[in-house]
């Protein structure tokens, strides 16, 4: 995208943030013939929450899923451009998707715990990646992950119960605990609160804020209030384009683009 404003906003805003954790350069995504994402370039930093906002169908979820190659599961999807994780292209042919997804975890829109016990849900990732050497180490990882996800106190006495028996909000925190159990560097969240009630949502938002110190978090959200509450960076997508990217406070109080302004003031979307 030939967009000098965007380049300057990125350059001007984030000089304090250090090197980018993820750096996307002119990424386009096609579904068959249809272009869903048009040359998006963006830098994402550790210890910040980056929110992707925009109307339905703007491509924000599609773009999020390119960051850990979840689009690979859709046969017709094709990705152009480069996405660098710590400077290495994740779409290069030698990239091991299993390794990538261990480093870039994901939480989905609808809580999707496996129909296994709470313990096995958390232990799933450490087991397939061979992270724990012993049972006691695995126990420790499970406890620590549940504690970080703020779920330990609620479930410590019933780790053998099925994960699907928890409430929606607890299930989503279980999924977050599952994602952090493999000690990722980046956590992608695809509208993690859209299936939850306001109280559970507030709980997840608190959690995101607590987790921000350790990971780079990218959250796709429909709710502009949520983006304003939890994120420090906001990227506004529209029709497959990245329209504007900057500090959340700037985007919401002083957008540079007419389209951004129209969207956040509720003109459309």
């Amino acid at each position: 995208m030939n967009n000098p404003d965007l380049e300057s906003s990125v350059a001007a805003g984030f000089t304090d943030a250090g090197p980018a954790k993820i750096s996307a350069n002119k990424v386009s995504v096609y579904y068959g013939e249809k272009k869903a994402i048009d040359e998006v370039s963006i830098d994402i930093h550790t210890r910040y929450v980056t929110a992707f906002i925009g109307p339905s169908g703007c491509g924000k979820s599609t773009f999020l899923r390119t960051l850990n190659r979840m689009n690979d599961t859709i046969p017709s999807a094709r990705v152009d451009g480069e996405i660098l994780l710590d400077g290495q292209d994740i779409y290069r042919s030698k990239m091991d998707v299993v390794q990538l997804r261990a480093r870039v975890g994901m939480v989905f829109q609808k809580p999707n715990p496996f129909p296994k016990s709470i313990y096995d849900n958390i232990a799933y990732g450490p087991k397939i990646h061979g992270i724990a050497q012993s049972k006691s180490e695995l126990d420790e990882i499970v406890e620590q992950s549940l504690r970080r996800a703020g779920l330990w106190e609620e479930v410590k006495d019933r780790l053998t119960d099925s994960g699907t028996a928890l409430s929606g909000g607890q299930q989503q925190r279980l999924c977050i605990a599952r994602a952090i159990a493999v000690d990722p560097e980046v956590i992608l969240m695809d509208e993690p609160c859209s299936a939850l009630d306001p109280i559970a949502t507030a709980r997840i938002e608190e959690l995101i804020d607590e987790l921000r110190g350790r990971y780079a978090i990218v959250i796709v959200t429909h709710s502009m209030q949520q983006a304003a509450r939890v994120s420090q960076r906001t990227a506004f997508f529209h029709l497959g384009n990245l329209v504007e990217y900057g500090r959340t406070s700037d985007i919401f109080t002083n957008p540079r683009k007419e389209r951004t302004k129209d969207y956040i003031t509720g003109r459309y979307g």
Binding site: M70, T73, M106, F114, G125
Partner: protein, 462 residues
């Protein structure tokens, strides 16, 4: 009088009622104060009257069909010519049925001279009751139709009434299947009880020697010859063990391939082809088992030094049966794997699991209830299977774990006992019913478990 005439009459009445009522409803709609708004469409009025004309008439026809032959018989016996008949026994029945057959026109002439004078009164009685039947049918149908017709008004709720009738008809249809099942159970039950009057159930269920002799005097029937354990073992060994060792892995793997790896076009073609396997008549599988598989297995076993290998073997029947029920397993497994929410699969992949780890650790466990249900259905199909074992497993009731030995199953023995020379009060023949009862109870139990499992699995995702 042929029953077809009665049925046609009832249908005719119904048709007339339908046309009359519909045109009356049209008349309501178009006549009088501007446009009267009908509560129901004219065709509902038509159906309402048609049902009232048809249903009572057809119910009468059904009853009349049972009653009128007895009335004919009564008036025939009241005839003076009937005094010549022998008092009772087979002879009397033959004469009477011969006379009736000639009177009906289904036989040309009488064979027994005693029947000749009875032909005339039989024909007369049939004619008389035939006329009475037709008149009453017409009367009932007509009365029903007219009474219904008189109730028609513009605001008559014909629609709701017809809907109720439709529900009743559907209920009856579903009852037929259930009642048939009860009928089957009842018919099995009585013969089974008779059998257990002659042979001790304990001997039957737990005895290990099976050699019923239908030619032997029933008075000397020995419980020791009716030990069905070798049959139960043969059934389970062939149907639930050997066949399942073939069908479960192959069925499951083909389901996994079709749902997770095959491209959509391939799946679109492959799935129906696999399901066709289930439609091949079992007798064809039987040929294959008896003529190709069984000799091949015998030769292989012989070359491996297993001298006891028989040309009819449990393993030949079991292998072919296993292939036959692959579609049962794969189709249910396919459906239940495909029904696992894709969020589950994405969740696992996003954790960095590979495709096969995802299948092994998430998809198959999540789909397990459906897979188990498919296996249960396949087992109950396999243990009820007859043709393949008749052709390939042999008739010897061996209680052995040697898969190369000839074995026999419950279904095979049912066929053997019922098609023999034995009469129906001999325990050898009656044992078929007891075997059938055991089979029925076992398959019913398996299906029941399978349905319960499927139900639990549905609750999990809805």
């Amino acid at each position: 009088m042929s029953p077809a005439i009665f049925v046609l009459l009832a249908i005719g009445l119904g048709l007339v009622g339908w046309l009359a009522a519909r045109s009356r409803a049209w008349a309501f709609a178009s006549s009088g104060e501007g446009r009267t708004r009908l509560h129901s469409l004219p065709s509902y009025h038509g159906w309402y009257v048609a049902l009232w004309a048809f249903v009572p008439a057809i119910v009468f026809v059904a009853i009349w069909n049972v009653v009128s032959p007895q009335l004919v018989m009564q008036s025939l016996l009241a005839d003076p010519a009937a005094a010549q008949l022998p008092d009772f026994g087979i002879n009397r029945d033959t004469v009477l049925s011969e006379a009736l057959a000639v009177a009906r026109g289904s036989a040309q002439a009488v064979f027994n001279p005693l029947a000749a004078p009875l032909v005339e009164p039989a024909a007369a009685a049939m004619h008389r009751y035939g006329i009475i039947g037709i008149v009453v049918t017409l009367l009932i149908g007509f009365t029903g139709g007219v009474l219904a017709f008189l109730r028609l008004k513009p605001d008559f709720t014909a629609r709701t009434r017809v809907e109720r009738a439709v529900m009743l008809i559907l209920l009856l249809a579903s009852l037929v299947a259930i009642l048939t099942t009860f009928g089957i159970v009842a018919s099995l039950l009585f013969e089974t009880i008779r059998f257990f009057g002659m042979v001790n159930p304990i001997d039957f269920l737990f005895g290990t020697h099976w050699s019923p002799d239908p030619m032997r005097d029933p008075a000397y029937a020995n419980g020791a010859d009716y030990g069905a354990l070798p049959l139960f073992w043969g059934t389970i060994y062939i149907g639930a063990i050997i066949a399942m060792i073939v069908a479960i892995p192959l069925g499951l793997m083909s389901a996994i391939f079709l749902t997770q790896y095959a491209n959509p076009t391939f799946r679109k073609w492959m799935k129906p082809i696999l399901e066709i396997l289930a439609g091949v008549p079992t007798v064809v599988y039987g040929y294959f088992a008896a003529l190709t598989v069984a000799p091949f297995i015998r030769d292989v076993a012989k070359s491996l030094g297993i001298a006891s290998a028989s040309s009819e073997s449990a393993i030949a029947a079991g292998l072919v049966m296993g292939v036959m029920i692959i579609p049962f397993v794969s189709s249910m497994a396919d459906d239940s794997i495909a029904a696992v929410p894709s969020a589950m699969r994405d969740g696992s992949l996003a954790m960095g699991a590979t495709k096969s780890e995802t299948i092994r650790k998430v998809l198959v466990p999540a789909a397990l209830p459906g897979i188990v249900a498919g296996v249960m259905l396949a087992v109950s199909r396999a243990i009820g299977e007859t043709m393949i074992v008749v052709m390939a497993a042999g008739a010897a009731a061996n209680l052995t774990a040697n898969p190369f030995a000839s074995m026999t199953t419950v279904t095979y023995q049912i066929v053997a006992m019922l098609t023999g020379e034995g009469s129906f009060d001999h325990p050898a023949t009656l044992s078929a019913f007891a075997l059938g009862m055991v089979l029925f109870v076992v398959t019913l139990g398996l299906n029941f478990i399978a349905l319960r499992v499927v139900k639990r699995y549905r609750e999990a995702y809805e």
